[in-house]
């Protein structure tokens, strides 16, 4: 299989940069826009996603021989829904304040396209360890994205980071509003595109003398 030619490191890093679910694939943007008003929310959401993704991916990778391909999508939903319910219950029990902010979006992890996509594209065809790495990479990619957006918004919107006063004043209230998430994601994507372009240009320049 073509996928297995990749080294473990590549599999791991793939989700973080090349196929970053937020900035490159532009999937599952709803929480990235709606709840990243501060860094903590971003981290919590990211961690929940990592949890669900690792569990679901490993489960599917373990059980892939027993899943009939015809009913694979319902099974995916079921698996995801189970883990989402678990994390939902846990968060509501132990992090009631954060749960108030994340509430709906924790439940919506069920329909996160990129998780289902990874289940179908990767977990179904690979053994447990690479799947775990892939899930970890993807999850970390998501977490990283959420942290960046959350951090920028918290800093610019309320002048704090993780609740600690950094700037001492509130520069732009706009960044507390969810609408600002769109702008930040847009600009982050543009930065990604720009770096990629520069990188490719450099590579092609290197190739020419060789």
């Amino acid at each position: 299989m073509a996928i297995q030619q990749k080294t473990n490191k590549e599999i791991f890093l793939n989700g973080i940069f090349n196929e970053n679910p937020i900035f490159r694939l532009a999937l599952s943007m709803c929480p990235a826009v709606a709840i990243t008003t501060n860094l903590l929310n971003g981290i919590l959401m990211g961690v929940s996603v990592i949890f669900v993704q690792i569990c679901a991916n490993s489960t599917i990778a373990l059980l892939k021989d027993y899943i009939h391909p015809r009913v694979r999508l319902p099974i995916y939903s079921l698996t995801l829904a189970t883990y989402v319910t678990v994390i939902d219950l846990i968060l509501s029990a132990y992090f009631p304040v954060a749960y108030g902010a994340l509430g709906l979006f924790i439940k919506l992890i069920v329909v996160f396209t990129f998780i289902t996509m990874r289940l179908d594209v990767f977990a179904r065809k690979n053994t447990v360890f690479p799947t775990f790495l892939d899930a970890m990479g993807m999850g970390l990619g998501f977490l990283w994205g959420m942290m960046v957006i959350g951090g920028v918004r918290e800093l610019l919107g309320s002048g704090t980071l993780l609740g600690y006063d950094i700037l001492g004043f509130k520069p732009m209230l706009f960044f507390v509003l969810p609408a600002s998430g769109f702008f930040i994601i847009g600009f982050m994507m543009a930065i990604f595109n720009y770096t990629e372009r520069i990188y490719k240009e450099k590579q092609s320049k290197r190739r020419i003398p060789a």
């Binding site: 009939h68 099974i75 219950l89 509501s92 132990y94």
Partner: protein
């Protein structure tokens, strides 16, 4: 056919496993969840009573909860108050049935354990059982009585009002003479930077120390808060010992009868909260007076 059976079996097994996992998690998390909720609620209550890092909670502070129900029996409407009775640690709950004119109707014992009383389902079914028969019982609201050294120190009442966008939930603390001790915003969805400022100390602390007489006719004015008062209201910024007890009292007295200064740019939210507090206090005081009169007259051994 064989495939069909295989698929069905596989799905069944998955469903059962999923159900097991969820069930187990639910069982493990339900108790801490409730506990957390309770703690959170209590924290809010203590906050609004003014207990914080600087002012510790007295050891003998006790909170008693009173629930109000609307009971409809045939054509008649009654109010039912589930009140804690018994001298020590509220050993049980009784139901006081009052008609709409404030006259005592009935007094029944409720078959419910004190620790279960916060559970709405259990409580309602206990009241239903006590009232019996064809009556409809609907939960209306609740309030708390705080007792320190066996004396009523405060009433706590959660209430809500319609704000600029959605409902604003808040908790009010009144002293035994119905003067406002404090206000705490529990939930709201006002605009950040505008209506959301109702959460800020400088706004909500304005209600502190307002007398009942003033609250009855309190209005919102569109003037900025005087500088000294503003500094006083921003409690978080108080440094240790900035204000002595006398100074605090003096400030409170100075602004006791002033109206509420609106938040700049969010008059609607300010007015909504102020009116909500006004209405809630008026209704509550009326009811507490009725309840107290009945308890006095009938000599019921309530815990609060």
């Amino acid at each position: 056919m064989k495939e069909m059976i295989k698929i069905v079996l596989g799905l069944c097994v998955t469903c059962i496993t999923a159900a097991c996992i969820m069930g187990v998690t639910f069982i493990f998390t339900s108790d801490p969840k409730k506990k957390n909720e309770h703690i959170n609620f209590e924290k809010n209550m203590f906050n609004v009573l003014g207990y914080n890092e600087n002012r510790s909670i007295p050891a003998d502070l006790k909170l008693y909860s009173i629930f109000r129900y609307i009971i409809i029996q045939g054509d008649n409407q009654y109010l039912g108050y589930a009140v804690p009775v018994g001298e020590k640690d509220s050993s049980g709950y009784d139901l006081l049935q009052v008609d709409t004119n404030g006259n005592f109707v009935d007094h029944k014992h409720l078959d419910i354990k004190p620790e279960k009383v916060m559970e709405e389902g259990d409580r309602t079914s206990a009241i239903k059982a006590a009232v019996g028969g064809a009556a409809t019982v609907t939960y209306a609201d609740m309030f708390f009585v705080a007792k320190v050294e066996n004396k009523r120190s405060a009433f706590l009442l959660p209430a809500e009002t319609i704000g600029f966008k959605t409902t604003i939930g808040f908790m009010l603390a009144l002293d035994p003479l119905y003067n406002v001790i404090g206000v705490e915003i529990l939930e709201h969805e006002e605009d950040p930077g505008l209506g959301a400022e109702i959460e800020q100390e400088y706004f909500k602390n304005q209600f502190q120390g307002k007398s009942f007489e003033k609250v009855k006719s309190i209005v919102v004015i569109k003037q900025p808060i005087p500088d000294d008062y503003l500094k006083f209201l921003e409690k978080k910024k108080w440094r240790q010992g900035e204000y002595s007890e006398q100074e605090i009292k003096a400030m409170q007295q100075k602004y006791q009868d002033s109206d509420i200064n609106a938040i700049t740019g969010a008059t609607i939210s300010s007015v909504a909260l102020t009116n909500g507090i006004k209405v809630a206090v008026k209704k509550f005081v009326y009811r507490v007076k009725v309840l107290d009169t009945i308890i006095m007259n009938k000599q019921i051994a309530v815990a609060f």
